[in-house]
C-alpha cells in the first residue's frame, strides 16, 4: 500500500495505491494521518482510490477513521475514482453519504 499527498488550491489530495486489507491497513493509517496532519487548515481532503486494486471491509473502517480525523480539523472528505470492486463495497456500506464520490 502506498500513500502520496498533494495540495491543489485549498484541497488536500491523498492518492492510495495497492491492496487495502488487514495486512496493509496499519501502515496506510500512519501514512494517511501524517498527510492529514500536514494538510490541517485546508478546507477538504479528496482520497483518490484509482490505484487501489483491492479493498475489503477493512478499507471501510480505514476510511471512517480518516473521516473522523478530518472532521476534528473541520475538513470535509471526498472520494474519487474507486474501481468497480471498491465502489460496490462503498455503496453497500453507505459510505458515500459521509464522504461523497466526486
Amino acid at each position: 500500500m502506498q500513500t502520496r499527498a498533494m495540495r491543489k488550491g485549498d484541497s488536500l489530495y491523498i492518492y492510495l495505491s495497492g491492496e487495502l486489507d488487514e495486512h496493509s491497513v496499519a501502515a496506510a493509517r500512519t501514512e494517511a494521518d501524517r498527510c492529514i496532519d500536514q494538510g490541517a487548515g485546508l478546507s477538504r481532503a479528496v482520497f483518490n482510490l484509482a490505484g487501489v486494486k483491492f479493498m475489503d471491509s477493512t478499507g471501510i473502517g480505514f476510511l471512517i477513521g480518516r473521516y473522523k480525523r478530518l472532521k476534528r480539523y473541520g475538513m470535509g472528505m471526498y472520494l474519487e475514482n474507486p474501481n468497480a470492486g471498491a465502489d460496490k463495497i462503498l455503496q453497500i456500506s453507505g459510505l458515500y453519504s459521509l464522504m461523497p464520490k466526486i
Binding site: D21, H23, R29, F54, M55, S57, A84, G85, K88
Partner: protein
C-alpha cells in the same frame, strides 16, 4: 468437479495468498472479473475474521477448502479460535465486537451480499466455520430469461 484443501497460519500476509489461491482455483469456471472480485472480497473478509476475531492476533491454523460443481464454487473457511458467542448479533450490519479498533462491522454483510449462498456455524471456545458459494454466470442466465 474439482476439489482443494489448504491449511495456513493466521498471519495477515496470508490474506492476499488465500484470496488469490481461491481466484486461481475458480478460473476454469470462467468467472467474470466482477464475480472474481466478489469472491476475493468475501474470502478476504472470512480470513480477516479468523485472524482478528478467531485468534485475536495470536497464531493458529486456518483451513480453506474449495469445491467446484458445474458453474458453482463452494468455499469453506474454518478456524479453531474463540468462536462467536452471539451469532445473531455478529451478523448485524455495522456490529463489531472491537469498536475501539476502527472496524466497520461489515464483514458478514459483505460475504452475504457478494456470494450466492452463505452460512456460518460457531461454537464458543471451539471455532468458527463459514460456508459460502457462488454460481458464476447466474446474472447472465437471469438476464437471458
Amino acid at each position: 468437479m474439482n476439489e482443494m484443501q489448504l491449511k495456513f497460519l493466521s498471519r495477515s500476509e496470508n490474506e492476499v495468498f488465500a484470496r488469490n489461491v481461491v481466484a486461481a482455483f475458480a478460473l476454469p469456471l470462467s468467472p467474470t472479473l466482477a464475480e472474481l472480485s466478489d469472491v476475493k472480497t468475501a474470502v478476504s473478509e472470512a480470513v480477516t475474521n479468523c485472524i482478528v476475531h478467531g485468534y485475536r492476533g495470536g497464531e493458529g491454523w486456518i483451513t480453506l477448502s474449495c469445491r467446484t460443481e458445474d458453474t458453482c464454487l463452494h468455499i469453506e473457511i474454518s478456524d479453531s479460535g474463540r468462536g462467536i458467542a452471539d451469532l445473531e448479533k455478529a451478523l448485524q450490519p455495522f456490529y463489531t465486537s472491537l469498536p475501539e479498533e476502527e472496524r466497520s462491522g461489515m464483514g458478514f454483510t459483505i460475504m452475504q451480499t457478494f456470494m450466492s449462498d452463505f452460512s456460518v456455524t460457531s461454537e464458543a471456545g471451539r471455532g468458527t466455520t463459514v460456508r459460502m458459494s457462488k454460481t458464476f454466470g447466474a446474472r447472465a442466465a437471469e438476464d437471458a430469461r
